[in-house]
């Protein structure tokens, strides 16, 4: 049996030019109703790729149920375009005989951490999908695998041309 806890730290930055706080959300999806190491319980799942050999940005999606909380999460990050995500994937084990074990009954076996930036969100009748791409630590020979946002490039005309050197 494998028990995996996803722990997501989402920072939602205000739109440039607007005064507003940077909101932080620390969430986990395993321990029902508990706050686990500072992470509140939220019902979400993680789907997608985490990395690729050439360092290209891969899309990772966090799926939330369509709730007021998830809407706040999207809107406070300007449609999840101005968000960053630190995703910790933790493998935990328990020997508890309790019918309702708590997080204190689980031991951490191993974990790894990945970093992503928000690239948008989409809605359906029942879910809200927050899309992220891997952060700019994936670099191959000549091209930084970054994603342009207004935050790092400023306003661009629609027919602009950019040369990298």
């Amino acid at each position: 049996m494998i028990n995996i806890v996803n722990m997501a730290n989402i920072q939602a930055y205000p739109q440039p030019g607007l005064v507003g706080p940077t909101l932080g959300f620390a969430l986990q999806n395993f321990f029902q109703g508990e706050t686990y190491e500072g992470h509140r319980f939220a019902s979400f799942s993680v789907q997608g790729a985490s990395s690729q050999l050439n360092g290209e940005n891969e899309t990772l999606a966090l799926l939330f149920p369509f709730s007021s909380f998830a809407l706040t999460l999207v809107e406070s990050g300007n449609g999840n375009k101005l968000s960053s995500l630190t995703l910790k994937t933790r493998w935990v084990e328990t020997n508890s005989t309790s019918p309702s074990p708590s997080s204190a009954d689980y031991l951490t076996m191993s974990e790894y951490t990945s970093y992503y930036i928000g690239v948008g969100a989409s809605y359906s009748e029942t879910t809200i999908e927050l899309r992220f791409k891997s952060a700019m630590d994936g670099v191959n020979g000549v091209f930084p695998a970054g994603t342009f946002t207004r935050r790092n490039s400023g306003q661009l005309p629609t027919n602009s041309r950019i040369n990298f050197k």
Binding site: I4, N29, F31, Q32, G33, S43, S102
Partner: protein, 139 residues
């Protein structure tokens, strides 16, 4: 949110909770299971109330049509004084040591499907109710 009416059912079927789990089955038969949570949920409770009076039918009718119950789900009554001596309550006839195992604060109940009301005799009806006990989550 109001508790489910305290009427003793004629028949009661309870399916225990299931874990939040998915499994990968390899071609050679090896199975790897992944758990997605620390608690189990999705109890299924089928209740049949045979030949109950209109007063009791109205209790179930009102409970089902209560918008608050539909929105926020509800709890069952586990008051030991209601069962088994009084012969009342959803778990009438069940000892309190057993029924208390179902008195879980993290479980909320919901209608799986609309209840059925079958007229059996003049002013008496047989009502079938199917409930599901889900993990409590509101956000």
């Amino acid at each position: 949110m109001s508790d489910f009416p305290s009427i003793a059912p004629t028949r009661r079927t309870l399916r225990m909770a299931e874990p939040a789990r998915k499994e990968y089955r390899a071609l050679n038969g090896v199975v790897v299971r992944r758990n997605f949570g620390n608690l189990m949920g999705n109890y299924l409770l089928d209740l049949v109330f045979e030949n109950i009076t209109e007063t009791n039918v109205i209790l179930i009718w009102d409970h089902y049509h209560n918008a608050n119950n539909q929105q926020n789900r509800f709890q069952l009554q586990f008051d030991p004084s209601l069962s088994p001596l009084a012969g009342l309550g959803t778990f009438a006839g069940m000892s309190s040591s057993l029924s208390s195992k179902l008195n879980l604060t993290y479980i909320r109940w919901f209608y799986v499907e609309p209840p059925n009301i079958e007229a059996s005799e003049r002013s008496l009806s047989t009502v079938t109710v199917k409930l599901i006990g889900e993990l409590n989550y509101s956000a």
